[in-house]
């Protein structure tokens, strides 16, 4: 059975931009382990003849017509933005000084 390490949790947390405490690393390692073990048990009984379940309902090809409709006004779109400049969303510096 899988055993998630603290290092793997720390890696995932970094990818998800989550700041985890040392104690939380153990906590989530344990939880993720339970999840993966449960999924593995399902995989054991799902043989090749059972297609993966994408959704609870067996739907495919849900499409809409290609018709354009107005969305939000610019004012509404930008209303909740923390910062706006020149009618654009203003975001903080993307690369740190030493980032390459």
């Amino acid at each position: 059975m899988s055993a998630i390490t603290r290092g793997e949790v720390a890696h995932l947390a970094r990818l998800a931009r989550l700041a985890l405490e040392e104690s939380e690393l153990d906590h989530y390692a344990e939880q993720l382990d339970v999840i993966l073990t449960s999924v593995a048990r399902v995989s054991e009984v799902a043989a090749d003849d059972i297609p993966p379940t994408s959704h609870p309902l067996p739907l495919v090809n849900v499409m809409r017509e290609d018709v354009a409709r107005p969305g939000l006004t610019r004012e509404a779109a930008l209303a909740a933005a923390p910062a706006v400049e020149d009618d654009r969303f203003r975001v903080p510096r993307i690369l740190d000084g030493d980032d390459e």
């Binding site: 990818l15 931009r17 994408s54 959704h55 739907l59 495919v60 090809n61 849900v62 499409m63 809409r64 017509e65 290609d66 018709v67 354009a68 409709r69 107005p70 969305g71 939000l72 006004t73 610019r74 779109a77 930008l78 400049e85 020149d86 009618d87 654009r88 969303f89 203003r90 975001v91 903080p92 510096r93 993307i94 690369l95 980032d99 390459e100």
Partner: protein, 502 residues
């Protein structure tokens, strides 16, 4: 930094392997997962809604026309269309996507295993290369970033960035080749020919306006080098390649750069590089996620795509003529051979010639201007012939003026020069620059008399029956009229003046 190796030496010592990733923005009315309009050049953040802004609770619904387009594209590229596939989330933190993920496809692309045959001209005649296509998949475009603060407008040194999400969510199709080997020194030409052919196919399908300058066709070029017999080398990926000409230049400059690194005993780093139009060089770029770990997973908000095989066959049957077939038909209509056709294709002027012929110009004349003078000027200015500002209608008008005797070829070139300089239409340039063949006999006779008086010995020779000496006088008259006379007419008038018959 090591010095690049001159191209001829580089391809003598190393074998290039290239791979191309082309993104085509579809020309649908609405976005991929919402109904926002897609027009290019709208005011920032005026074509957005809760779905493409990633607002909580919003749900995507697929654009059926985009799925139809990608299937037609796959079929035109000789791909198989899968019978079932899903969209996937590609997770990354970068402000070009407000959701913090891009909906794309990962291990289940909708079209797979195709190919495209492309022709390049060589000194030994046209050569065909088969470029294998690994996958054609559906995704959504990202928003547009403008970097502010700092000197260069680049992300490096920027204090902050501004985002316009109008483009975010526009349907985008990615076409990925398998590594292309065995092209040797022709690698840059093969890359360019592939993107050109791809563009022509997409244009023929009507799925995109495929304008590289507006970003609706974008190309990333992967290049690696190895010594003959060795394993493939480490590849770099060059982005920001925004014209057909740049595709060729980017591959060439990467070959020269990598050869320089390898020859100096160095190691090529696997990285993303940026191409610069002005210098023709590449520089290292940023990587979106330092460790490329996008944690793809099936998109839970969209149901799978399962194209009905009967529908796919209908789409296949309704595909337009392939560009290669189309070209063969045009070659026959215009009475030209493979070589002439390949020349037009490689100069990037085939479509322009076709439009010009459609505007009523004789095929030979249309070819002469586009593949000759206009290609020459385009190369000199380092732009595409279509960007010169000369339209098929302009050529039509100039040809009319030539046919009526108002212009000759030399003057016509000056008319095009004026059009390219923004001086207006052909007629406006003719009027403003006073360009017209001098056909007034009086003016020509005066010039002839002057030339005869200046060269009495030549006059005597002609009178004595040496008709070939007439060239010197004709030349002097042409010079005096600044080329605005019809040389044949000058010659006739001259002989008549001297009472000599041929």
């Amino acid at each position: 930094m090591t010095e690049p190796m001159p191209y001829a030496e580089a391809v003598a010592e190393f074998e290039p392997v290239i791979g191309l990733e082309v993104h085509v923005e579809l020309g649908t009315e609405s976005k991929m997962f919402c109904s926002c309009p897609t027009a290019f050049g709208a005011e920032p953040n005026t074509q957005v809604c809760p779905v493409c802004l990633g607002l909580p609770g919003s749900m995507p619904v697929m654009n059926g026309a985009a799925i139809e387009s990608i299937i037609r594209m796959g079929l035109a590229l000789n791909c198989s269309v899968v019978d079932w596939c899903r969209m996937a989330r590609k997770n990354y933190f970068y402000p070009d996507m407000p959701k913090d993920y891009q909906v794309s496809q990962y291990d289940e692309p909708i079209c797979v295993d195709g190919y495209l045959d492309v022709t390049v001209t060589t000194d030994d005649g046209p050569r065909v290369f088969r470029v294998e296509i690994e996958r054609v998949h559906m995704e959504e475009d990202t928003g547009k970033l403008t970097h502010a603060g700092g000197a260069t407008g680049r992300i490096h040194g920027a204090d902050y960035s501004l985002v316009d999400y109008n483009r975010a969510g526009i349907p985008l199709v990615e076409i990925v080749t398998r590594p292309v080997t065995g092209t040797g020194a022709l690698a840059p030409e093969v890359a360019r020919a592939y993107v050109t052919e791809l563009r022509d196919i997409m244009r023929g399908l009507g799925v995109s306006d495929v304008k590289m300058e507006e970003g609706s066709l974008r190309c990333d070029a992967n290049v690696s080098l190895n010594r003959p017999g060795d394993e493939w080398g480490t590849r770099s990926e060059t982005k920001n390649v925004n014209s057909l000409r740049s595709v060729e230049r980017a591959v060439r400059s990467e070959i020269e750069r990598q050869a320089g690194v390898l020859a100096a005993g160095g190691r090529v780093v696997q990285e993303t590089r940026h191409f610069h139009e002005d210098t023709g060089q590449t520089t290292p770029g940023r990587s979106k996620e330092q460790a490329e770990d996008y944690r793809y997973f099936p998109e839970p908000d969209l149901v799978p795509i399962a194209p009905d095989p009967a529908w796919v066959e209908q789409l296949r049957a309704a595909l337009p003529e392939q560009p290669s077939v189309h070209r063969a038909r045009l070659a026959e209509q215009w009475g030209i051979g493979d070589f002439e056709m390949a020349t037009l294709v490689n100069a990037g002027v085939l479509g322009l010639v076709e439009e010009t012929v459609a505007a009523g110009v004789a095929p030979d004349a249309a070819r002469k201007w586009w593949a000759g003078e206009l290609t020459r000027v385009a190369n000199e200015r380092e732009v595409e012939p279509g960007e010169l500002g000369v339209t098929p209608a302009d050529i039509g008008r100039v040809e009319e003026l030539i046919a009526t005797g108002s212009l000759n070829d030399k003057l016509a070139r000056q008319v095009f020069e004026g059009i390219m300089a923004g001086e207006g239409s052909a007629d406006e340039v003719v009027a403003a620059r006073g360009l017209a063949v001098v056909s007034d006999d009086g003016a020509l006779l005066a010039a002839i008399d002057e030339a005869l008086a200046a060269q009495p010995d030549v006059a005597e020779k002609i009178k004595g029956g040496k008709v070939q000496a007439a060239g010197a006088i004709v030349g002097a008259v042409m010079k005096a009229t600044r080329g605005q006379a019809d040389a044949g007419k000058v010659r006739d008038l001259l002989l008549e003046r001297l009472g000599v018959t041929e």
